[in-house]
Structure formats: C-alpha cells, structure tokens
C-alpha cells in the first residue's frame, strides 16, 4: 500500500445477514493524498456515506483493507479505532452540538478528548477558531440561540480545533449560505495546504465542486468516476 493517509484495497461492505444481506460497496480501491480536498458524490444509497464511516473508524471493516494514518482497520482493536478517531475531525450534516454547552464549550470538547489540559489555553484555542469562522460575538451562546448556519460553523470549529490529520465531512455546507459555505470550504482547503490536513467530504453542493482537488463519484456501491482536478 502507499503511504497516503487513506488507502483502501478491494473494499467490500455488507449490511445484514442471510437473506437480508445486502452489499453496499464493491471493490473500492483508493489512495487519497495528504492535504487534498476530496469530494465524494453520488445519488442516495450509492455507498458514499458507508465509505466515509469505514474510513472514519465508525464501522468494522469486514472484507478488504482500509488503511488510515498507517493503521490497518480490518481486525483493529477498539482501542486502536478510538485512538485513530481522536486524530480525525468529523463534521456532520446535522451539527449534533450539545444543547447544554455554549459554542465555546462545544468546541472545547474537541480538545478535551485528548485528556486533561490547561482550561484557559483550551478556551483560547476554541475562541480563536470560532473567531476565524465569524462567531466571535456568539462564543457564549447556547446552540438553541444560534441560527442553523451558526450551529454548523460551531460544529466545523469543533472538528478543526484539535488540528486533526483527516477531516471527514458529510454535507458540511448544506445549512450554510453561499458566503459561509465558501468560507468553510476555503478554510478546509487552506488547512490542507498549510498543515497537510486531508479532507474527504460528501456533498451535493455544486458551489464547492470547483474547489475540490479530486471528485469521486459512486453509484450502486461502485466508483464510476474518479476525477483529479
């Protein structure tokens, strides 16, 4: 396998057992380069989300190989998977912010997963990322008092604050206006260039396709096009 941060070989994945067994993805072979912004496209049920969750160590790899940050996931222990997830950043379509934590506290959770730290430094780091995303005046707001776009930006800040090596994003711009969406993707792209952060993003948003380094299209669980830009 290559030394790319994400590689897959002969990757198949099934859901269910017996007569209910259904194959979701077929023979996926990928090498995703460090610092790149890769977009996964395809219709609903095409397998792109399944692929994202397999790369994200959120599902067990049953058939084939997935190597993330140098670790083979097939047969990896729970401890290895948890350790790897700490090196990833997740951005979900639904922001999934904790309703009882302020924007700053939600972002801080992205740091505290690495253990006890200096609370003041953590808060400063959270403020820095929130400020970059245009939320300086919303730091102490609870999610209930933020708009959909603001919540999504807090979720992005939470994913970015710990300087992850890979960011996995599912429709991160769906709730954002054009300008905010552009800002977020531009930030991900800049981080890729500056720090080598690799981003894999599922999206249907045509506004950001032009910013991708690579667009992979799946259909019925198979890669039908793989376009480098």
């Amino acid at each position: 396998m290559s030394d790319a941060p994400i590689t897959t070989r002969n990757l198949d994945h099934f859901f269910g057992t017996g007569d209910a067994r259904k194959q979701a993805i077929f023979d996926i072979n990928l090498d995703i380069a460090r610092g790149s912004l890769t977009i996964l496209m395809g219709p609903s049920g095409s397998g792109k989300t399944t692929l994202l969750t397999l790369i994200g160590c959120l599902r067990d790899v049953k058939d084939g190989q997935v190597r993330v940050l140098g670790h083979e996931l097939n047969g990896a222990s729970e401890a290895v998977l948890v350790g790897l997830r700490r090196r990833l950043g997740f951005i979900f379509q639904a922001h999934n912010l904790h309703e009882s934590l302020t924007a700053t506290q939600n972002v801080t959770m992205g740091l505290q997963v690495h253990g006890r730290g200096d609370a003041v430094k953590q808060r400063k780091a959270a403020h820095h990322v929130l400020d970059l995303l245009g939320l300086a005046d919303r730091r102490d707001y609870l999610p209930g008092n933020l708009s959909g776009g603001q919540k999504q930006r807090v979720a992005v800040a939470r994913a970015l604050v710990s300087n992850p090596e890979i960011i996995l994003a599912d429709e991160p711009t769906a709730a954002l206006d054009k300008e905010s969406g552009h800002t977020v993707v531009q930030m991900l792209k800049s981080l890729g260039k500056a720090r080598g952060i690799t981003t894999v993003m599922v999206t249907h948003d045509p506004r950001i396709l032009e910013m991708a380094d690579r667009i992979i299209t799946l259909e019925d669980g198979r890669i039908i096009s793989d376009e480098l830009k």
């Binding site: 994200g56 959120l58 997830r85 979900f92 999934n96 505290q112 599922v202």
Partner: protein, 391 residues
C-alpha cells in the same frame, strides 16, 4: 458551580450542565430524590423512635444481668419468673445483689376524658442502687403508700400537671379503683407501647395490679461484683439455675435482643423496615427514570462524542456525575424537610424522633449508592449511541 466542577473533574461538567439546562426537569428530579429521602428519613425516624422507646426503660435501671421468663419477648412483655430464682441467684459467686422488677401497663382517664396508658414499674424502693442516679434519690419518697414518679414526657398529660409536679405540687388520679399520687417526675418519654412511664414501689404496684403476686415478678435484676466479668456470672447463673423457661442475659444483651425482636418480629418494626425499603426503591426508580431519559435524549450528542474518540469511561463519568448531583441536591432539601417533620412529629406524638449525625450520613451515603446504582443501570442505554448512524 460549573467552574468548581471543571476544576474537580478536569473536564467540562457535562452531567451538571445537562441536568441544569432544563431547569424544570432538574427541579422535578431533585424533588423526586428529596421525596425519596424524606420517605427514608421518616421511616428511619419512626423506626429509631421505636428502638429508642424500646430500650428507654433500660435507661432507668442500673443492673448488670436480667433474669426473665421465656414467655416474654421484651422487658415490657408479660412474662413472670419465680421470686425464688432471686434467692438462688444471690447464692452464685460474683452476684452481690438482686431485686425483683414488676412491669405492667396502667390505663387511666384524664379529667378531659382522654385516655392515657402508663408503663408502670414496681421496684424495691429500699434498693436505689438498681436505679439510675437521676431516679435513685427520689425512690425514698415512694415508700409512702400509693405514690409514684411520673414521666415528664407522658403523652397527653397536661403540661400544667407536669409543671406542678416539678414545683412539688402533687397530682392525684384514679386508676382501676385505686387512687395514686404522683409525687415527682422522671424523664423517660413515651413510646409505642404506652404514653409514658411511671415508677412506684413494688408494694404499690401489687396494690394497683391485684392479679399480680409478689412471688412472681416479671424480671430479676442482678448486680455483679466489681472485677468479675458479667458474662462469667451469666454463665454461672445458667449453670446454677434451672434452665426451663428462664432467660439469663446481660442488660446489654437484653436490650439488643429487645431491639432485634421489635425490628424483625413485631409488625411495627417490619412495617417501618419495609417503608425504608420502599423509600429506597422509589428513589431508585425516580433517579433511573431521570437518568435513562436523559441518556436517551442525548444519544446523538453521545454518539458524536463517541465519533470524536471519547471512550466508555467518559460516558459513564457523565452519568455518574449526574447521579451524584441528583443525590446531593436531593439530599439537602430532603434532610431539612425531614428535620421539620421530625420536630412536628415530636410535638404531636411525644415519640423520641431525633435526627442524629449517623442517620444523616447513612442516608446520604445510601442516596449516593442508590443514585449510582440507578446511573449504572441507565448506562446500558449508552450502547444505543452508534456514531455510524450520525452520517
């Protein structure tokens, strides 16, 4: 509070923030735990009063060993023992003195028509050494015919009667066709078996209870010689006296057995014990409901944290943090409301319902344990937080 908990845990106090985010639900949960605490405190308080009133008569007596009939289960039960046993006991090495003790329940009606029952003790007033120092000096006055010392804490007794008695004014009353005169007071307190206590000479006792005979007291009290172990004398008495229908035990053992009997064999003890169990059960159910609902409501957030790399100990920490918060915040109002109810109960019933530190600590630790147990059960729901479902 958040900052304190952040310092304490070294992380955001998510459990605390989660609980207090919905104030209405938080107060309802705290009220539930407080209510469970209240139930337990009240049951323990009444059970404590039962225990206290069971052993209260022992506080009047100053003896080392008690000889009783197997027919009676406690000090105040109706069981008789042959007076001859007292003379036999006096012949055993280590016994320096012995005296009979008569016990009976004496009902009488006050001027306002209310009925009062007095647990009456007949003692040999020429042997004050068998009474506590507070009572012993007053026994000499009881050599007068039909006189008695009345319990200051007698339930239902008009306060002015007690006040007069303490000022030296005698109180005369009729019971069972006899006239008795209370000439002084003692401090024991009412209980479950009677409204108060009364102490009189054995001669007066036999007059008031004509069916009783001097040859068959309820108990024989024994004092042992200094330097001789009480248990040694108990063993000697058991060897020397006929074993049939006779129970020989130290005063401490007798009091402990009375307590055990009242707690485990009398319906009252069982009922209050069951009440404590019910209180704990109510608390468990309330806390479990609160915590499991809370876990279910935050499954998506927990799944997100799982995806971020938080492990099971982190989630268990949140649930146990919530359990501890509920335990502490529920205990405080439960404790203070119970104190108020204890005071009310004492004023209405005269029962010795008291909040002691050991009970408060016990209930607090029990609350912590029950909340933690509920939390542990509620954590099973965490398994449903699947981060793969977030995408």
């Amino acid at each position: 509070m958040s900052r304190l908990l952040t310092l304490l845990f070294g992380r955001l106090p998510i459990g605390w923030l989660q609980l207090t985010h919905s104030r209405g639900r938080f107060f309802a949960a705290v009220a539930g735990v407080a209510f469970a605490n209240l139930l337990v405190f009240m049951q323990l308080g009444i059970m404590g009063a039962l225990n206290g009133s069971t052993v209260a008569p022992y506080a009047m007596l100053n003896a080392d060993i008690i000889l009783s009939s197997e027919d009676g289960n406690t000090l105040t039960d109706d069981g008789h023992i042959a007076r001859a046993r007292m003379y036999q006991a006096l012949g055993v090495a280590g016994v320096i003195d012995a005296t009979p003790l008569f016990v009976g329940n004496l009902p009488f009606t006050l001027e306002d028509g209310s009925a009062v029952s007095l647990l009456s003790f007949g003692v040999d007033v020429t042997k004050p050494q068998f009474s506590t120092p507070a009572i012993a000096p007053k026994l000499g006055q009881l050599t007068l015919e039909s006189t008695a010392l009345l319990d200051e804490g007698t339930r239902g007794m008009p306060a002015e009667v007690i006040d007069d008695l303490m000022d030296g004014v005698r109180f005369e009353f009729e019971t069972g066709g006899n006239t008795l005169t209370a000439i002084g007071t003692m401090e024991v307190g009412g209980g479950f078996l009677a409204d108060g206590m009364m102490i009189m000479s054995d001669q007066t006792f036999l007059r008031v209870f004509p069916s009783r005979t001097s040859g068959a007291p309820n108990h024989i009290l024994v004092r042992t010689a200094d330097g001789v172990a009480v248990e040694t004398v108990v063993a000697r008495l058991k060897d020397a006296l006929p074993s049939g229908n006779l129970r020989i035990q130290s005063m401490e053992a007798s009091a402990a057995n009375d307590l055990a009997y009242m707690a485990t064999e009398r319906p009252t003890g069982i009922i209050f014990g069951f009440g404590v169990f019910m209180g704990i059960l109510v608390g468990l159910v309330i806390v479990y409901q609160v915590l499991s609902t809370d876990v279910a409501d935050h499954l998506r957030e927990y799944a997100t944290f799982k995806a971020m790399g938080y492990g099971q100990p982190f989630f268990l920490g949140i649930v146990f943090e919530e359990a501890i918060v509920l335990a502490v915040f529920g205990f405080i109002p439960g404790f203070f409301v119970s104190m108020g109810l204890y005071a009310g109960l004492v004023s209405v019933t005269g029962l010795p319902v008291e909040m002691d530190a050991s009970r408060a600590i016990l209930v607090f630790l029990g609350t912590l344990a029950a909340c933690s147990l509920s939390g542990a059960i509620a954590t099973r729901r965490l398994a449903n937080a699947d981060p793969a479902e977030l995408f």
